[in-house]
């Protein structure tokens, strides 16, 4: 167990969490609505990476289910927000 939980996965996870805080800064500060939508999309992709590193630390395979479903929901949410910002119908 001490061999699996070594120092490298924790370092990688801290770097990704720091990147997530940069995205949160852009969400809070961004001057227009598309800036915030871009930052939300990037944050969703970063969370898939966090799920991958949690899989590496714990050794359990089912955390990747969370990653796959999170990627799917992030894609659908980004497309819906883009269509809403564009101001058009969904069947164009």
């Amino acid at each position: 167990m001490n061999q699996i939980v070594s120092t490298w996965p924790m370092v990688f996870m801290l770097i990704i969490v720091f990147s997530g805080f940069l995205c949160l800064y852009r969400i809070a500060r961004g001057p227009t609505a598309p800036d915030r939508t871009v930052a939300i999309d990037i944050l969703g992709t970063l969370l898939v990476g966090i799920c991958a590193i949690v899989t590496w630390i714990s050794g359990k395979g089912y955390y990747m289910y969370i990653g796959i479903s999170w990627a799917l929901l992030s894609f659908i949410g980004t497309i819906a927000l883009a269509k809403y910002l564009e101001g058009s119908n969904f069947d164009e």
Partner: protein, 110 residues
């Protein structure tokens, strides 16, 4: 399978993620932020997932990581393209240092 090679791949992917998010904070315009952050974070997350495949081997977790990498490679450029189109159509101005805007010319021809 090969843990050292997988760790190196994950380290490169994490650095790509960090540089993409620094570009998301530093660049001046929504289009510049989009083209910096989307490409870097897509490649970085895909390299993290492929590194996880090399660490875990051909099992349930590794195959799921490969599936997730293929899915992100397919969907993230589509979402970025839709966001750029939505931002341009909702009237976001370009940065004043930008040189060319082809999309206005295409809209005028319609």
């Amino acid at each position: 399978m090969n843990e050292t090679f997988g760790t190196v791949l994950i380290a490169i992917g994490v650095l790509f993620d960090l540089f993409g998010c620094i570009g998301l904070v530093r660049l001046p315009d929504v289009y510049n932020r989009l083209q910096a952050a989307t490409k870097c974070v897509t490649l970085g997350t895909c390299m993290i997932l492929i590194g996880l495949f090399f660490i875990m081997g051909i099992g349930s977790a590794g195959i799921r990581a490969l599936l997730c990498a293929v899915f992100i490679l397919l969907t993230s450029p589509v979402a970025a393209h839709a966001l750029a189109r939505a931002a341009h159509r909702s009237g976001i101005k370009l940065w004043e240092g930008s040189v060319v805007d082809k999309y206005i010319e295409v809209d005028k021809q319609r």
